[in-house]
């Protein structure tokens, strides 16, 4: 039996509604619009709008990955490279790749991926930084449980990455467009304003 092909990558974690594509990714008129319905907590690719709905995902651009194109789902060969690729990414993890594969020096492009394990970086999560009614640690635990249910895999809290200051957290949320009044108030308190 052939062993699984394992790679590593990172994601943002978003809490948003489904989106519907009005045209294909890569086309000049590529457009997505939000769908009706409740927002969902999901992994999101760093370099595209692609949302990871479940444990198995498929490259959304045809033709599939080939040596002469740049299509496919990307993964790196080492977890260290995945962690370092974007230190601001809210999650990194292990994936198994299958289907058509293009191997590169430091990674792969794949037609399909299975999410096998996720590490969360608490500082990048879409959380409220207000202590009440639900504390920060409890929110992280809820996010981990929701992701475990969606991706049917282990979700591990990477507490080593959580050595950031309040300003770091604020800047991270600003980058993701998730600043709230509570965040501003908390930051002002830290600076004694």
């Amino acid at each position: 039996m052939r062993p699984d092909l394992i790679g590593y990558r990172c994601w943002y974690i978003t809490f948003q509604r489904d989106k519907r594509k009005l045209s294909d990714y890569g086309q000049p008129d590529y457009t997505v619009i939000p769908e009706e319905g409740p927002p969902k907590l999901r992994l999101k690719s760093l370099s595209s709008d692609m949302l990871w709905d479940g444990p198995i995902v498929h490259a959304d651009v045809k033709p599939s990955c080939r040596p002469r194109n740049s299509n496919g789902l990307y993964a790196l060969k080492t977890i260290e490279n995945a962690k370092d690729y974007d230190r601001g990414a809210s999650a990194y993890g292990e994936v198994a790749m299958f289907g058509h594969i293009v191997e590169h020096d430091i990674g792969w492009r794949a037609e399909h991926m299975l999410v096998k394990r996720i590490w969360l970086r608490p500082f990048g999560l879409p959380l409220s930084y207000v202590a009440e009614p639900i504390g920060f640690q409890e929110q992280i635990a809820v996010v981990a449980k929701l992701l475990e249910a969606r991706y049917q895999c282990d979700v591990i809290i990477d507490s080593v990455s959580d050595g950031r200051t309040g300003l770091d957290l604020f800047l991270m949320k600003a980058k993701m467009g998730q600043i709230t009044v509570a965040d501003l108030e908390k930051l002002l308190k830290e600076f004694g304003v």
Partner: protein
């Protein structure tokens, strides 16, 4: 994401835990239990 130079391309089978049920052994509707007289 920059992955470096292309090394090779190949087909990789699905991971072991992904198994499509064999339709021949999975009934399409529940098997009705005989009702005791």
């Amino acid at each position: 994401m920059k992955l470096g130079e292309v090394v090779r391309e190949f087909e990789q089978p699905a991971p072991n835990q992904i198994e499509i049920p064999d339709e021949k052994v999975v009934p399409s509707k529940p098997i009705e239990e005989p009702v005791p007289a």
